[in-house]
């Protein structure tokens, strides 16, 4: 009965590769997010979708492309991975105006 689930949990890949991270929530929330947490634990919002519509698109390289096939899913595709993309990526969901529920994170390591 996981609320927000991300796959994979760990991802090790070489520079230049393309990879995807999947996220699903079973809470019925309207809004979903992608956050990036760097090695210093800073959390930065990347994208937000509300009812499948993109509403927040922060200053993120266009190698990062989110896709929301339906309200319960928000995937993140990354092209041409770079060393600086190494981080933990968190998916989250929330009902409007309420606290967000976070997935367990995907630790991406680019070598």
């Amino acid at each position: 009965d996981t609320a927000v689930s991300q796959t994979p949990k760990y991802l090790v890949t070489q520079m230049g590769n393309d990879k995807s991270i999947k996220c699903e929530q079973n809470l019925g929330h309207d809004t979903m997010y992608w956050y990036k947490q760097d090695s210093k634990k800073f959390l930065k919002i990347m994208f937000s979708y509300n009812n499948k519509e993109l509403i927040i698109n922060e200053t993120v390289p266009n190698r990062f492309s989110p896709k929301s096939p339906d309200k319960a899913h928000l995937n993140l595709h990354i092209n041409s991975l770079e060393l600086g993309d190494s981080a933990v990526y968190f998916c989250a969901s929330s009902p409007s105006g309420q606290a967000a529920f976070f997935g367990q994170g995907t630790r991406l390591t680019v070598v």
Binding site: K41, F42, N50, G97, F102
Partner: protein, 112 residues
């Protein structure tokens, strides 16, 4: 642009002591959240503060919000080792875009 600052960044304290973590933010907002993150784990929601003067308490933690001062505090009473974690505040952008801006985090270590 909304900016959120926390202090201290690191906090090492003895069990049984009290301390306060501060969260300042730069523009108007009426929604503030506190989260806890254990090492290698996800973020867990602790408190939701939705109005000026709001105070919430859970066990040894108490959070408050002063929207006029743009300040929230997380007070720890009689700390225990189990409270060791990183604590984040997050402030909702008032533009209605459902955007949460996180503070820098406070890494708390409670020493036995």
């Amino acid at each position: 642009e909304l900016k959120v600052e926390q202090n201290p960044l690191f906090l090492s304290m003895q069990e049984g002591k009290n301390y306060t973590i501060y969260c300042n933010y730069s523009t108007t907002s009426d929604r503030l959240y506190w989260y806890r993150q254990d090492p290698g784990k996800s973020l867990e929601s602790l408190f939701v503060l939705l109005s000026n003067g709001a105070v919430k308490q859970e066990g040894r933690l108490m959070a408050s919000l002063d929207t006029k001062a743009r300040l929230s505090t997380l007070h720890i009473t009689a700390a225990v080792h189990d409270l060791s974690a990183t604590y984040f505040c997050a402030v909702a952008d008032s533009s209605g875009t459902y955007k949460y801006i996180f503070g820098t985090g406070t890494r708390l270590k409670v020493l036995a």
